[in-house]
Amino acid sequence: MEAHVSGYSDQSTYYIMAVLVNKNSKVIVQGFTGTEGTFHASQMIEYGTNVVGGVTPAKGGTKHLDRPVFNTVQDAVTATGADVSIIFVPPAFAADAIMEAADAGVKVIICITEGIPVQDMVKARDYIKGRDCRLIGPNCPGVITAGEAKVGIMPGFVFTPGRIGVVSKSGTLTYEAADQVVKAGLGISTAIGIGGDPIIGTTTKEAVELLMNDPETDGIIMIGEIGGNMEAEAANWLKSNMRKPVVGFIAGQTAPPGRRMGHAGAIIGGADDTAAAKMKIMRECGIHVVDSPANIGITMAQVLNKEAVAAN
């Protein structure tokens, strides 16, 4: 099945880069020589990501994984022209690493680190505000543009290239959704793991908007969870910007209020951030919300089929 149903063929004649990362992205790794940084940088290189070097303070001038190591992000950017950074720095130093990347002019900053103190993120989020950069995460699996660049920790083989975009707060649930999409005969354009912390750089709405404007994407899967108001914000935006079908799922329908469910941000604080409340507003705004996480892929295929039939 050919999945071109967006009706935006006139726009796709312009060359627009894939969302956030693509095969031309020059990626540096902050925390390059650590265990996590080493393992995932190798995996990213194996996937074909253009990793141009890394940063580990006081190890500048050495080589790691056949790539140069720099003392500062500024040095790395000057020497390599890097425009994307992925951060594997331990929680105590991660907010500092985000600010360093922003200060050095890195355009896309992807922070994988889980467990950053929330007050550190309040400060870092404010520091990068108004700068020409976008932060993804923290506490996220990263971003993958299937077949082009993997800047994250996800298993690349799950993300068969195609035309479905994914936005998700969770790691393994993103892989699950991508796998279902592929098994339903479709594939992935770009998957964005926005992270499960209370303070993150890119919101659900902003990530959905990127995919809505992406000519390589025909349908969007939006996966949220309990806590916060980001899904409602995205739903309200989608209400008047639904140019492609969106399938949604909210994890935590059975979560008790007031308990933190693994992710620092996954906690029901009131009546508005329960799964039921989020699913309700998403449905009202025209999102195809599934109750069961097992139906994400199949629903996207059905919705696209219906639209294709309607268009003919």
């Binding site: 995996q43 929680p91 105590a92 467990g115 950053i116 103190p117 929330v118 007050q119 550190d120 309040v122 400060k123 989020r125 404010d126 520091y127 920790i153 996800m154 298993p155 083989f157 799950v158 998700s168 707060k169 969770s170 790691g171 393994t172 649930l173 993103t174 892989y175 699950e176 796998d179 279902q180 098994k183 499960g196 209370p198 303070i199 996966i223 969870e225 309990i226 806590g227 916060g228 108001n229 994890a251 935590g252 329908q253 059975t254 979560a255 008790p256 308990r259 933190r260 469910m261 693994g262 992710h263 620092a264 941000g265 996954a266 799964a275 109750d291 069961s292 996480p293 097992a294 139906n295």
Partner: protein, 406 residues
């Protein structure tokens, strides 16, 4: 991480936030000595005995063993102290927040009585500081309606709740502190004391990496002192790495023992009331799995995230923890193997299963991702009473079958 009132007050003092003074004790002799000391310090025979548990509503709560004893009592003699301390210590306090089971009290705070008469009117206010996720800033919430349930105030008279947002990279500004003090309707010394109080309170919130700090009541005494009579403090777990002294204040006896044990294995476990246990890698997928159990006709018995490394040790620990719950009638293991290979996880499941022996409830293992087919084969050929699935929908069907068979 939650703290007791007496611990929170101790921490506030480090930031020059005035509090109702008190001495925490865990036995009758200690209580009597503390009372003596406080009587000398205040020159008054009045004092307050407060049960120390991690739950609110203590004043209206009742001791299970001594129903006419509440969790907070005013005392005016050594005999009073002895009687109240005996009623509370070692007994179980049931409040609106503890549920029917209540919580065992092992410490009481003997505190000054602040409600003495003086030249001006006493007042009770409310103040709390927390993160506003939407605005990505800390917010100070305050109200003139102190000493009562703030959620009720917010519901019935929302206009009586004020909010002051603080710039992410700056301390609370003097104009903000003045605004708060004026909105409380204060003047003279009380005003000056309130400005100092809120400024220092905000410094404490940031300095201690609190995720929530609540003072209710925030008290103006009859001689215009401003101080915290009660304090609820919640610390950001992620920041404890830089506050080792605070991490040591953790009272594990206040937490679910199984959750504490799980934490020791680096497992993220939350006990629930259902009949189907689950073990999953990743928090989002774990919540989604719980939801799926419910849709299949069961009720999730727990949240359990085994994290990125699902191996024989973590699976075994997970099994042990879930099996402690007698309500569990089936277990679903749901692992999406990305970096971690499914055949290794399967081997871990088999090893753990064999080691634990006679597990006599249905185990459903859903392994998807790297080497999922090999994993299924391993499980099927193991001869164990373990059902295997690859698709999430298959796992859901197996759960449904297991639940309806019960």
């Amino acid at each position: 991480m939650n703290l007791h009132e007496y611990q929170a007050k101790e921490l506030l003092k480090r930031y020059n936030v005035p509090t109702q003074e008190g001495i925490a004790v865990d036995n009758i002799d200690g209580a009597l000595n503390a009372y003596k000391q406080i009587s000398v310090d205040t020159g008054s025979k009045f004092a307050v005995v407060k049960a120390q548990i991690h739950a609110g509503g203590r004043g209206k709560g009742r001791m299970k063993e001594v129903p006419d004893q509440s969790g907070v009592s005013v005392v005016k003699s050594a005999d009073d102290v002895e009687r109240v301390a005996k009623n509370i210590l070692g007994n179980t306090l049931v409040t609106i927040q503890t549920g029917e089971a209540g919580k065992k009290v092992s410490k009481i705070l003997i505190a000054q009585d602040m409600y003495y008469d003086g030249p001006s009117e006493r007042k009770e206010f409310y103040i709390s500081i927390l993160l506003d996720r939407a605005k990505k800033q800390n917010v100070i919430m305050y109200s003139t309606e102190g000493g009562m349930d703030i959620e009720e105030v917010a519901h019935n008279t929302p206009e009586k709740i004020y909010r002051e947002w603080v710039h992410p990279n700056m301390p609370l500004q003097p104009f903000q502190a003045r605004k708060i003090a004026f909105n409380f309707g204060l003047s003279g010394d009380a005003f000056k004391n309130m400005v100092k109080f809120v400024t220092n309170l905000y410094n404490a919130y940031v300095g201690l990496d609190c995720s929530m700090l609540e003072i209710n009541p925030l008290f103006k005494s009859a001689d215009d002192k401003i101080l915290a009579v009660d304090c609820k403090m919640n610390l950001d777990d992620n920041a404890l790495m830089r506050h080792h002294d605070l991490a040591d204040m953790r009272d594990k006896s206040e937490e679910d023992p199984t959750e504490v044990e799980a934490g020791e294995f680096n497992l993220n476990y939350v006990k629930l009331d259902g009949n189907v246990g689950c073990m999953v890698n990743g928090a989002g997928l774990a919540m989604a799995t719980m939801d799926m159990i419910k849709l299949a006709g069961g009720e999730p018995a727990n949240f359990l995230d085994v994290g990125g490394t699902a191996n024989a040790q973590t699976v075994e620990a997970g099994f042990r923890i879930i099996l402690k719950d007698p309500n569990v009638k089936a277990i679903l293991i749901n692992i999406f193997g990305g970096i971690v290979r499914c055949d290794r996880v399967a081997a871990g499941v088999i090893e753990a299963y064999n080691k634990l022996g006679n597990i006599n409830i249905p185990i459903i293992v859903r392994l998807q991702g790297t080497n999922a087919e090999q994993a299924k084969e391993l499980i099927v050929n193991s001869g164990l009473k373990v059902q295997s699935a690859i698709l999430l929908s298959e796992a859901a069907a197996l759960v449904q079958k297991a639940v309806s068979a019960n």
